[in-house]
Symmetry: C2
Subunit: 140 residues, 2 copies
DNA sequence: GATCGTTATGTTTTTGATAATATAACGACC
DNA sequence: GGTCGTTATATTATCAAAAACATAACGATC
């Protein structure tokens, strides 16, 4: 039985809150690096091709290609070098700039997630409960 | 003088980056407090009615009502007290819990925005440029 | 009791983002 | 030179979220 003190929780919902958030790096064209884009880059590194990277994320090839184009356009230098035709039909591999983009994003992403965790830990009493201890100070 | 050094900018794109993000408080049902929801609460306080609050944000009344219902459901206590019929047709005013929700959100939102500003300030050299300063401490 | 702007709640329409589909070109390799 | 899986690009279809629309009920005030 989840008896517990049942003092705060008994407001009907047993509400437990946490802060969540999204973080992205924005450039002149809009989003430049975000979670999905960076995972895509990582998958390209893992699979060596844009097509299978997209498949692995259940993302359409076109969408992946568009994201990559957007990143390349904004970065000013390619994050991925692509080859078409030839052995295996072609492929894609990360450039050093691409590697650096991944590292940069995760660095800040992790910092942000940590911050969210701290923030959530601060959420104890929420507004519903009577926040006036009143402490029997006579002012009834 | 908006001349500035124009040294970094000359990489072709004039790329200037900044971190952006979104923050919301999540409860058992999903989003509980987010930017739009809190602004809605503030507008209700300002206008004294849900209908005109929605209008002021160019939001449909139904959408506003749904958001409010979601918040109330999750909070466990009403953030807004509504009156229908009567003088002026009715209205809506914030409860203390509603006020507190607004304050809570902005507190964390502001902290988050400050964090984003700091993070953005750290973004000087991005990956494209040669990241080797090679001595040369004073940027002329 | 007629009026008014509101709350309350459905139902339908729009629309924007994503997925699906189609097709061409590529080039090493057999 | 035919094959293969890829890059590259355009067009169409799907779907879910938001808007738009519709309607009923409410109750102080006149």
């Amino acid at each position: 039985m989840q008896k517990q003190t049942k003092k705060q929780e008994s407001t009907g919902k047993g509400a437990r809150w946490r802060w969540r958030g999204r973080l992205w790096l924005e450039g002149p064209e809009g989003t430049f690096l975000g979670y999905g884009r960076v995972v895509l880059l990582e998958r390209i590194r893992e699979y060596g091709s844009l097509a299978s990277a997209a498949r692995s994320m259940e993302m359409s090839y076109k969408h992946a290609w568009d994201l990559l184009a957007s990143m390349t356009r904004q970065a000013g230098c390619p994050l991925v070098v692509t080859v078409r035709g030839g052995k295996g039909g072609g492929g894609a591999t990360l450039t050093p700039a691409g590697e650096k983009a991944i590292g940069l994003f995760w660095k800040y992403h992790d910092r942000f997630q940590r911050e969210l965790t701290w923030m959530s830990a601060e959420l104890q009493k929420l507004f519903c409960g009577e926040e006036k201890p009143k402490a029997k100070r006579g002012t009834s």
